[in-house]
């Protein structure tokens, strides 16, 4: 019994020790110890490097200087000691005498007061005066004495300093050079003390975020995350990646870690903290899925630095019209009409054969189309096409017929049309052949699809046929529209060419009316209406909303007959495979109506990332990142630009093509009212450009959005503009006019009418428009240095600033005293009232005359032109 008791007691003791051991050996403590060791090692390395750097010539010099100074001092030790003694005595005496002086001075001040008092009281004060004089005398004597003693003191001090100061200076030098090493040595001592086997102060580091309802203990192990110098340290000690962009703007004290990364913040073991355990529904997010959290706070923008994938996904969601079927609470697309064209007058546009091929599988007809492929049973495609082909519009034919009658069909029209298509930069939106963008439908085989009458009508006025189209009106003449139509109608391939003239085809077997009726029913029930508007048909399909998709429990998802190796059992994988191939989870009882979009992998991943942001457990309102007025204006502007594909021709915010002018700085440049009217009703400003600004048919909201966007980009006030109103004087205007003529602006700039017969490539914008179009401050800045505002511009600097000074051309030196700023202002003021040239423009100067022998008409003689004999 006692033996048993003894043994059990020993076991209890051992078990208790084991308990202590497990407490010492906590996982997080291991990490903290590791981190401290890492810091100590690094400091050691830094110290070694500093020491290495230290053994350089400077240090040798300083050390030598010190040695020398010390030796000299030692050699002259007697002198030094004497000097010290002397200095002590001299200081002593000086301070005493100086004190005496101060006493005398204060007595003098008192005496002066008494004298003044006497005089002010009306008495003569002879006695006081005498005292004052006496004291003055005493004071000056004492001052002399003190001055003399001070000199002696200084000499004595200098004598000592003579030996001491080189020593001190050398020591200071060494100290300065060794400062780094000293600092690092101290740091090393500290870090090593912290890295002992039994260190003090290992503790859980947590951020208690009450607003967010989270407690994050991640930095207990990830200790180096908020220290910028540790990028190359091994995980988990490394500095947070993209430190400046991400961590500096989202400090962990305010946001914690799990609000972005997920995971189980208050766990203290690695496995549990990373959240990939049973029962924790917010595991650590990997790679691009971290971006899903960005949207919880930055929900008002569609472009965010550091979150490209999720923003692309959101864009795809809007672009492909997913929102037409799947509602998401709080999601509003920029334009609320459906993403596909209105299905009206299709019978007049194309043939039933083409429609059948298209509806059956759109991507075989146009590889980059957004229209998905539905799964059809037998005969459904024919029925739908029959119905659509029965929709006619008889207003489409006449325009084309008239143009055809007038112009006929000449072979030169094809080349002309092709050239015009190139000039107008249709490829900026449409793909024709190998080149072009996929923003708008591909036109490579448009001749197979569309009747020429329809193309002509469309080119002349797109909004008449499709009120919500993004295709703008290029203000084409009849001839231009006709040649383009001829060219496009010639773009044919094989395939569905046959049947374009036939009109509505007979479907095999079923009579036409039943087919059409069936087609109408199918359109209602298949889901076409989510993207297309069809007159007279209402959608009859129930589609699940996607709000809270990311919160779905794995048990709420049906995986069909797929195996876990094919489709891992996670919400992410379910959604991914569903987007990729919606029918993949079909079973005997479950059939998905969703069509297949045939997206490529990167698009699927982007869309998946966006969909995984749809959660009901967002972060609270208080942590959202509110947008300023300016940011909101920029955001709206970017959306409009993206929606209408402005960058097909313009460069905006540095992105785009250079077919049309770069719009950087537009907000600073043009007046807002002018821009408003211009966007509503564009005119040709630069006739020498091939491209022309088309009329997009913007509504007021879009135009104001764009004007505000450009203003916001440049920090200009919106909507109330204020200009520095020029108030020129007569002389000022006269000076401006003189300079204007001197600088020969009209050599390139147009004044009112574009001159006939001159090659247009040389011309510059119309100066009569300056007062309507440009902001006065901008004109001044432009005149001063055009290259700064628009690098590479053809406009020269008329007041070159070279190597530190302005160069005013000699004839202009007298105008306004040669002051460059006044001259620029004068020219600007003149331009603001410039109405064009009333009379004949001043004749340009006579051609230069070659001076005869001996005649000196100019400073430098004009040389004979030299030709090569060719």
């Amino acid at each position: 019994m006692s033996r048993a008791f003894g043994w059990i007691g020993i076991v209890l003791f051992l078990v208790t020790l084991w308990g202590f051991w497990t407490e010492y050996n906590r996982e997080w403590k291991g990490y903290q110890r590791g981190f401290r060791r890492l810091l100590a090692e690094r400091t050691q390395k830094e110290l070694q490097e500093a020491r290495d750097r230290l053994s350089g010539p400077e240090l040798e010099k300083a050390r030598a200087a010190l040695e020398q100074a010390v030796t000299i001092k030692k050699e002259n030790q007697e002198d030094y000691d004497e000097g010290v003694k002397e200095r002590k005595a001299a200081r002593h005496i000086f301070f005493k005498e100086d004190r005496k002086r101060q006493f005398i001075k204060s007595r003098l001040d008192a005496a002066l007061y008494r004298y003044e008092h006497e005089v002010k009281s009306g008495r003569a004060g002879e006695f006081e005066k005498g005292a004052v004089e006496e004291l003055k005398r005493e004071l000056s004597e004492q001052e002399e004495r003190a001055a003399g003693l001070e000199k002696i003191k200084d000499q004595a001090e200098a004598r000592v300093e003579h030996y001491d100061s080189p020593v001190d200076a050398a020591q200071a030098d060494i100290g300065r050079l060794e400062a780094d090493v000293r600092r690092l040595e101290k740091k090393l001592r500290q870090t090593q003390a912290q890295a002992l086997v039994f260190p003090r102060g290992l503790e859980i580091k947590q951020f208690n975020l009450e607003e967010l309802g989270r407690v994050d203990r991640c930095m207990t192990c990830h200790m180096g995350a908020d220290q910028p110098g540790l990028e190359d340290a091994p995980p988990p000690f490394a500095t947070h990646p993209q430190f400046k962009t991400l961590l500096a703007s989202h400090p962990p004290e305010k946001f914690g870690c799990t609000s972005c990364h997920g995971g189980q913040g208050w766990a203290t073991t690695r496995e549990a903290a990373h959240g990939r355990v049973e029962f924790w529904h917010e595991p650590l997010l990997d790679g691009k899925f971290i971006e899903t959290r960005c949207l919880q706070c930055h929900s008002g923008v569609t472009q965010l630095e550091g979150a490209p994938v999720v923003m692309k996904g959101r864009q795809l969601f809007e672009q492909y019209g997913c929102w037409g079927c799947h509602q998401i609470e709080g999601f509003k697309p920029l334009e609320e009409h459906r993403v596909g064209p209105k299905l009206v007058s299709l019978g007049s546009k194309t043939s039933q054969k083409w429609l059948e091929a298209w509806i059956r599988d759109p991507k075989t007809v146009r590889p980059k189309t957004r229209m998905p492929a539905f799964r059809f049973a037998e005969g459904e495609v024919e029925a739908i096409s029959a119905y659509l082909a029965s929709l006619r519009d008889d207003t489409i034919g006449p325009g084309y017929a008239a143009a055809e009658k007038e112009l006929g069909h000449l072979s030169q029209y094809l080349a002309e049309g092709q050239e015009l298509v190139g000039k107008l930069n249709c490829a900026g939106c449409h793909k024709v052949g190998a080149e072009g963008d996929v923003y708008a439908p591909e036109l490579t085989l448009i001749g197979d699809k569309t009747r020429p009458e329809w193309i002509y009508q469309w080119l002349k006025d797109p909004k008449k046929l499709q009120p919500h189209t993004h295709m703008p009106d290029f203000r084409l003449t009849d001839r231009e529209a006709f040649v383009i139509t001829e060219y496009l109608a010639s773009l044919k391939g094989q395939g569905v060419r046959a049947g374009l003239q036939g009109g509505v085809q007979q479907g095999g077997g079923e009579p036409q009316e039943t087919l059409i009726a069936r087609g109408k029913e199918l359109i209602a029930s298949k889901g076409c209406m989510a993207c297309h508007e069809v007159e007279g048909i209402e959608q009859k399909l129930i589609i699940p909303p996607l709000t809270g998709l990311a919160d779905k429990h794995i048990h709420e998802l049906e995986f069909g007959y797929t195996r876990p190796e094919e489709v891992p059992r996670t919400v992410y994988d379910w959604v991914r495979h569903k987007i990729n191939k919606p029918g993949v989870f079909d079973t005997e009882r479950i059939f998905a109506n969703m069509p297949t979009f045939n997206l490529d992998d990167s698009e699927v991943e982007a869309l998946l990332t966006y969909l995984m942001t749809l959660t009901e457990h967002g972060l609270p309102e208080s942590s959202r990142s509110p947008l300023t007025e300016r940011e909101r204006a920029i955001e709206l502007g970017r959306q409009i630009v993206r929606e209408h594909n402005c960058t097909a021709c313009h460069k905006i915010e540095g992105v785009g093509s250079d077919v049309a002018p770069d719009l950087a700085g537009e907000g600073k440049k043009v007046r807002q009212d002018w821009l408003f009217h211009f966007l509503k009703e564009p005119r040709t400003l630069r006739p020498w450009l091939d491209a022309r600004m088309p009329n997009f048919g913007f509504d007021d909201k879009e135009v104001t959005g764009l004007v505000a966007y450009f203003a916001a980009l440049d920090g200009e006030p919106y909507p109330y503009e204020s200009f520095e109103t020029p108030a020129p004087t007569e002389e000022g205007l006269e000076a401006g006019k003189q300079l204007f003529e001197m600088f020969k602006c009209l050599a390139c700039h147009v004044a009112g009418e574009v001159p006939e017969g001159v090659p247009t490539e040389n011309l510059a914008p119309d100066l009569t428009q300056v007062k309507h179009r440009l902001k006065p401050e901008w004109v001044k800045a432009w005149l001063e240095d055009p290259q700064k505002i628009q690098p590479g511009t053809r406009m020269p600097t008329n007041w070159p600033y070279i190597m530190g000074r302005y160069y005013v051309p000699p004839p202009a030196k007298d105008i306004l005293g040669g002051d460059v700023a006044l001259q620029i202002q004068a020219v600007r003021d003149y331009l603001m009232v410039f109405e064009g040239v009333e009379e004949e423009p001043e004749p340009l100067p006579e051609p230069a005359v070659v001076p005869a022998e001996g005649e000196a008409t100019q400073a430098e003689p004009v040389q004979e032109p030299v030709f090569e004999t060719q």
């Binding site: 053809r794 020269p796 051309p809």
Partner: protein, 264 residues
């Protein structure tokens, strides 16, 4: 994979080594590797130059290609300054079968050497609505004086990529403006925005060993210290050619250009 690549590259390396080692041969190393249609005729060394002093000439094989006529209708002043038709100056073949306006300079071999600063002012003139000289070489920091000798408005738009770009308006006759380039650049294209046919080229180098061929198609690069150098001949239309020479060299350095469509 790696060994495969090495085997592919070796023959070229051998060829290049053979090409480089013979200074006399006129075959240009670069044109041997890049498949272009330039001819590579045999060498024809002239009288041997002095050891250390590098001279040469630029030959042109073939006849002068016909040049475009310049249309000066946009500015009657310019039109009035020329009696007959004016042609572009893109390719100018001299009477002795050499090529004019070729900028020749030492591309490699002078690294680390310092040269005395260039203080001599170089003139860049605009007269009869053409730039003079059409091709010019200057040193880094060398002062350039841009002059407008015409009565009409010109502007000098230097479209430099390495140096800061500038565009100065010169509306008056006799106006002069200073300019200088602080970084080496081959070549800075200069154009006039008022008269689109006007263009010129300026080459900026750090050292004084450069030249522009004139009417006789020869160039003189001055005295070079013994060693190996790479010389480049740049033409505005044809692809540039390089040669590696060793100093002291026996013989002239000769480049040959031939006309191809597109200048390749």
């Amino acid at each position: 994979m790696r060994t495969h690549f090495a085997w592919m590259v070796t023959p070229f390396v051998l060829m290049a080594a053979v090409g480089c080692s013979e200074a006399k041969e006129v075959k240009s190393t670069e044109t041997a590797v890049v498949a272009q249609a330039t001819e590579t005729p045999s060498a024809a060394p002239a009288a041997p130059a002095a050891a250390g002093h590098v001279t040469g000439k630029i030959m042109f094989s073939g006849t002068q290609p016909t040049l475009k006529k310049l249309d000066m209708a946009a500015d009657p002043v310019c039109q009035g300054l020329h009696a007959g038709a004016v042609h572009s100056e893109t390719v100018l073949v001299n009477a002795n079968g050499t090529l004019k306006n070729v900028f020749v300079y030492v591309k490699k071999g002078l690294e680390g050497k310092t040269f005395p600063a260039a203080s001599e002012k170089v003139k860049f003139d605009q007269h009869t609505c053409m730039y003079d000289p059409h091709v010019m070489g200057v040193r880094v920091g060398q002062p350039i004086e841009i002059v407008n000798s015409d009565t009409t408005l010109h502007n000098v738009h230097a479209m430099a990529k390495v140096n800061p770009e500038f565009n100065y308006g010169m509306p008056f006759e006799g106006m002069a403006l200073p300019a200088q380039f602080d970084k080496p650049e081959i070549m800075v294209k200069v154009k006039c925005d008022v008269h689109p046919w006007m263009n010129a080229y300026i080459g900026v180098v750090e050292h004084p060993h450069f030249a522009v061929t004139g009417d006789d198609g020869s160039f003189d690069l001055g005295e070079l210290a013994p060693g190996e150098y790479v010389i480049e001949a740049w033409h505005e239309y044809y692809a540039a050619q390089t040669q590696t020479i060793t100093v002291p060299a026996a013989g002239e350095v000769v480049f040959t250009f031939a006309h191809t469509e597109g200048g390749a």
